[in-house]
């Protein structure tokens, strides 16, 4: 058995270069066949998702926009340790730490907090490594359907704390839900 005829998958096809017959060279049969194929598609089910009305269903492991979490008392979890920035393969995260003042105990949980926390959304690849690296459960990738809203300026794609930190009302609601349970 020569190497040319071995087919391990069983799907091997030998290319034939035989001349076309007269009927084949007329192409009319081939054209009619093609027309039948295309007209079948006329009656097929359309695959379009009507975007603004319908949104494509996301997979269960989908990761959306980031959120910096607060605890039940509304304090920010982040302690600006920088592990998320370290784990980020795209170098998207930067932050600047600051020390908590005595009168800010209701704002930040730890003694150190992130004064500036920025994620460059043009670089972020939504891999979720920051979420896994965080020891304080501070950064989460939500299931938000909006990944990054469109914008005219590149600067607007750098998300600061104003866009990332969980709204206070949401933290309150979460706390209430937890108490109710």
């Amino acid at each position: 058995m020569s190497i040319e005829t071995i087919s391990l998958s069983g799907r091997k096809k030998v290319v034939s270069n035989k001349d076309m017959s007269f009927v084949e060279r007329l192409y009319l049969v081939a054209i009619v066949k093609g027309l039948i194929i295309t007209v079948k598609h006329l009656f097929r089910k359309k695959v379009t998702i009507h975007y603004p009305e319908q949104v494509r269903e996301m997979s269960p492991v989908y990761r959306g926009q980031h959120m910096l979490k607060r605890d039940e008392q509304g304090r920010e979890n982040c302690t600006a340790c920088g592990l998320c920035a370290l784990s980020c393969p795209a170098e998207a995260i930067t932050m600047k730490a600051a020390e908590r003042k005595p009168d800010e105990k209701h704002l930040y949980r730890e003694e150190k907090y992130a004064e500036i926390y920025e994620i460059n959304m043009l670089r972020c690849i939504f891999c979720g490594l920051c979420e896994e690296a965080c020891p304080k459960d501070a950064i989460y990738l939500t299931e938000s359907k909006v990944l990054v809203p469109a914008n005219y300026n590149r600067e607007d794609f750098i998300f600061g704390k104003d866009k990332l930190v969980m709204p206070l009302e949401m933290a309150m609601k979460n706390a209430q839900l937890k108490n109710a349970n």
Binding site: I31, G34, L35, T38, V39, H41, K46, V47, T48, H50
Partner: protein, 350 residues
């Protein structure tokens, strides 16, 4: 000439003009819908129900776009180009019989703008003027590539006109008349010419694809081979006119195919309808039958567009000169032999 006749003819002309325009307008919509459906998409659905107002929106967009004139030596010709393309496409509708006759206000109204006895010759004459629209447009653009696109389109149209004319001759030998009215009348019942002249029909169909610059012969305006073809420098409604002319001529050529080969306004049982239901009802149904045939061919144009890939230029010329023209000459000879045999048989009394 009596005034009633003038009024009658002007009404017919205005209606035919309006119908041609509306059909061309909605062909653009249908094209997009058919294209979408053949590709498992939905197509335009924002403007109006099912996107039915899309042609109006397109028109509004084209009218409000900036008018751009290249630094051309002759601005007049630049404007005349699309106008010629458009008017030749519309002029052909004058000789087409849309139906037999309607009996209204005690008069017989012939549903045809004018019944010239050389209608076919007239159609070929007008069609060949259409080449000027493309050629002038390409030349006046003052752009080498547009000119090359125009020359390519012109040579394509001229070449296929030869084969088209020759394929018609076989039909003319059989019908013995050039009047579209009489050709329609001869096809009463199911005596459609396509059954007697299938080869002639095939050649005519292929040639009308080339004449209307539709895929697979749309080398005139292909983007990837010669930038935009002859209308690279055109913008706003002047560009729209060229595109619109394509759809208008598509409608007209579908009509001519239906009239010449598929019995025009005739449908099986028309004679029975005239005798039992009345002339008006029978002819209204006839107009509807004609439009069904036309719509099928317009759909066929679109259907083919999404099936067959574009021809290469040398393939196009090869098909035109070395296949279609000899084939139509052979067809003429066969028709001649058949007619001769028939005549001799009649003469000898068989």
């Amino acid at each position: 000439m009596e005034s009633a006749f003038i009024i009658e003819k002007s009404v017919v002309i205005v209606v035919v003009f309006a119908v041609t325009m509306i059909m061309a307008m909605y062909s653009t919509w249908a094209e997009r819908k058919v294209a979408a459906f053949l590709q498992d998409r939905v197509g335009p659905n924002r403007a109006g129900w099912g996107g039915l107002l899309q042609p109006l929106a397109d028109g509004m967009k084209l009218f409000s776009k900036e008018e751009f004139f290249p630094n051309t030596p002759n601005k007049f010709l630049f404007v005349v180009g699309p106008a010629i393309a458009m008017s030749t496409a519309l002029m052909t509708s004058a000789v087409i019989p849309w139906g037999d006759r309607l009996h209204l206000f005690g008069r017989d109204i012939i549903l045809q703008a004018t019944d010239v006895n050389i209608a076919l010759l007239y159609i070929f004459g007008v069609l060949s003027v259409g080449v000027y629209g493309i050629m002038i447009g390409g030349w006046a653009s003052n752009n080498k590539f547009s000119l090359m696109g125009a020359i390519r389109a012109a040579s394509q149209m001229v070449s296929y006109e030869v084969a088209m004319g020759l394929s018609m001759i076989a039909l003319l030998m059989m019908t013995g008349t050039m009047s579209l009215k009489e050709i329609s009348l001869q096809q009463q019942g199911m005596n459609w010419n396509v059954f007697y002249q299938p080869l002639s029909f095939l050649i005519f169909l292929i040639c009308s694809f080339a004449e209307t610059n539709r895929t697979p012969f749309d080398l005139a305006e292909c983007e990837n081979e010669l930038i935009g073809g002859y209308h690279t420098e055109y913008s706003s409604m002047k560009m729209g006119f060229y595109l619109f002319a394509e759809y208008a001529s598509m409608f007209i050529s579908s009509t001519i195919i239906s009239v010449l080969f598929f019995g025009g306004y005739n449908y099986p049982g028309m004679q029975w309808m005239v005798e039992n239901v009345g002339v008006n009802a029978a002819n209204l149904l006839g107009i509807a039958a004609l439009f069904v045939k036309i719509c099928f061919f317009i759909f066929f144009y679109m259907w083919v567009r999404w099936t067959i890939p574009r021809f290469r230029y040398d393939q196009l010329m090869h098909l035109g000169w070395r296949i279609l023209i000899p084939l139509s000459i052979v067809n003429i000879m066969i028709t001649g032999i058949v007619i001769l045999r028939h005549d001799i048989a009649a003469y000898l009394g068989f």
